[in-house]
Symmetry: C3
Subunit: 316 residues, 3 copies
């Protein structure tokens, strides 16, 4: 495996399978009362977040801590103008601490690749603009595989604002690599031209949604709902909302969260047994533990989780 995880394209099918197996072994750790292994003890992981993100940042934070790493969190709003410059300076400063990994979230596409040029640390892309969000794709693969048993040949529909979605990009790449058939669906204004080149099909209506084994609804950014992309919220929901009429009883439902209730998803499907949304969040920690493990301690090593961290027994 490469030193960085910048894009799903950095991962071979074998890499992905190894990460998913590793995540499964960490799921066993997370089921214990003491959810911790000493794998990365004394190593430093830096969370460098230029966008607010409770979900992703706390998930990486817990992943690092459950591997016993020291986590340093650097959050910066960063002024728009100086961003390019200050990102480099910040990365060079942080790199001087010799961290094992830098986890970077940025509103700029390509930011993670830039960071990787400026540091000896392993760089993990935790979302860079509209470009990619590879650990999201990995946790989605992990979640779907656990429920469906196998990914091979599964038909996955990705529905919504594909144009602005880094999750869509990473997931098209990831699902196709694992042998799924991927269809993207949404209003023509929100489907990028030429997206078929990534190996997916395109539909502009949900008429054939019944063919899907799993439906992956994207978050509709509220700021995109007005203006030229969609005529109105109601219009969008009328045509593309996943509800219990459209979702068949044997189809699985996924969403990267947070959900806009009543927009891309109807309330009744969110909490249905078909929905994997909570499992996706749960998978976040173990999949990120697996990614950190593979980048920082991996290389065909045996499972790190045979024994829990043992220390002087707790007296009470």
């Amino acid at each position: 495996m490469r030193r960085h995880l910048l894009s799903v394209d950095d991962l071979s099918r074998e890499d992905i399978e190894r990460i998913l197996r590793r995540a499964e072994s960490f799921a066993e750790v997370s089921g214990r009362e003491i959810k911790k292994v000493p794998t990365l003890r004394g190593r430093t992981v830096i969370n460098l977040f230029y966008e607010a993100s409770t979900r992703t940042s706390s998930s990486f934070e817990l992943a690092a801590k459950r591997l016993s790493a020291d986590l340093v969190s650097v959050k910066s709003s960063g002024s728009a103008v100086e961003k390019g410059e200050s990102l480099k300076d910040t990365v060079q400063t942080l790199s001087a601490y010799d961290p094992a990994a830098i986890v970077i979230r940025s509103p700029q596409a390509g930011a993670a690749a830039l960071v990787a040029r400026w540091t000896r640390a392993s760089v993990i892309n935790a979302g860079d603009g509209k470009h990619e969000h590879p650990t999201q794709a990995l946790l989605d693969l992990y979640t779907l595989k656990r429920r469906a048993g196998s990914l091979e040949g599964l038909r996955v529909w990705i529905v919504g604002d594909v144009l602005h979605s880094r999750v869509a990009r990473s997931n098209i790449l990831a699902f196709t690599r694992m042998g799924c058939g991927v269809t993207v669906c949404g209003p023509p204004t929100l489907i990028p031209r030429g997206i078929e080149s990534l190996g997916c099909e395109v539909r502009y209506t949900l008429d054939e949604l019944g063919k899907a084994d799993a439906v992956y609804a994207l978050r509709m950014q509220r700021e995109r709902m007005t203006g030229s992309f969609v005529p109105s919220l109601r219009e969008y929901a009328a045509q593309y909302q996943i509800d219990c009429r459209r979702l068949g009883p044997s189809q699985l439902l996924m969403h990267p969260g947070p959900v806009n209730r009543g927009v891309e998803l109807a309330a009744e499907v969110i909490d249905s047994p078909q929905a994997l949304i909570t499992e996706q969040v749960e998978s976040g920690v173990v999949v990120r533990m697996a990614v950190l493990y593979e980048l920082l301690a991996g290389g065909g090593a045996p499972s790190p989780v045979r024994a829990p961290e043992t220390e002087a027994p707790q007296p009470a």
Copy 2:
């Protein structure tokens, strides 16, 4: 004891006594150079704070760390409109990490009880609007008991803005449960009607303050001092400020902090030996350690603190 600590009403007198004893054993730990026990090693505590609070959040943070838990801090200003919705989503997301406890501070009364519905974690109310702040009441009991020897039969006056105070509510419940006689005192506009039903007496002047063994002054919120509640700051201080003329030499003085010097308290009494204000802050960490212990590791188990965390001896 229940799984959550949402209100002082969740606690029997026996529960409170057990927590106070446990806190005492942790006070012994806190007196050591190595202020740490391995009790909650590998377990996750989430601080979810929707209101700024250096004091309470850092106190819970230290309590968790001194029990060797992994602490994740989530701070959110949260927009007023979406609050109800986003609280649920946030809690469900955080719960997917299988935390042992969620500590919640919110400007909304009842928020902690809502959180408890949405998670399998133990929920600790760290202040919910004007409703309750039970760990504050517990640390006040602990502090007063240490100084006074026993709580039984002590006469406590709670003075100030009772109407807007979650501390007042929790403390009336806690002091009466432990056998104290409680009197609340303040301007009629700041004493809620029917407060007597909680088991306290009501006075509108400090004329009989001499009867108190302990005087608990509430923080006067500056934003309440103007407008309809009190005619003016000076007027309020003239009638209700605790100063050295009003406070007898054998009476104890408490305050939840931070103090408005020269408003509810005169400067001369704040640093007097009668004031327990610093002890209250000190007690915060050990009482919160005790609460975390009782909720997460307790149940009649023997004291967790007989032996300190032992590890490979430090070479230097």
Copy 3:
């Protein structure tokens, strides 16, 4: 050594030499994969930062964590008016947790000395207004000594806005104490009158810069570039910018960061092999580990780093 580190004046030459030796032993730890020693296990270090500072705060955070201390970070913007009052209250509150050290960064000169009056903890000045920044000076000494072999007799020029610089003040004191000859240079408006009393010489042009063994460029605060101090940015750069024409091939270059590229330094010198700027950042962590060690665990004790933290061996 004293209990606090408020100013370079608190340190004898022997103190400084001991800190530099200790930092060297920590540099050996930082070169390991497990960058951690158990020296401060179970002790609490509080980072109290009233000014934003990624660099200094993350450096102290890592230093504390690599010594196994529990770090609590308190960041406050703090309103200008109440600052004096609230600093005292905050410090008294935090002191009630019995921390081993409080690291304070404040825009007010003298803030660290005030904090030291209000707490039993060791106080480390991480920058107080225009006054001092002693750990910066120590890491600069450490960096220069590593490269130059010895500090004795080195000629150091400090160039730029000396008037507003706490770094300049601390470094003049530190370099002279260690036997360097210090010259400060800048526009007359940015050199404080009487600065010679600290033991340095003054020049207003770079004409004799060739005499320097090391050139220490100060950060030019953008907000000072307009107005009465310098006629214009271009004017300043024309006269005082360090570029490859002015910097001789055997002269060393230092800067406290972050650099204003093209203002105090020309791009070509920043990444040259003569520049120690990255080494300065690297030194930050080990020098701050050394300072924490000397204040909290020191006193002639043998080196803390003979053996790494040993625990149950990691299975994988």
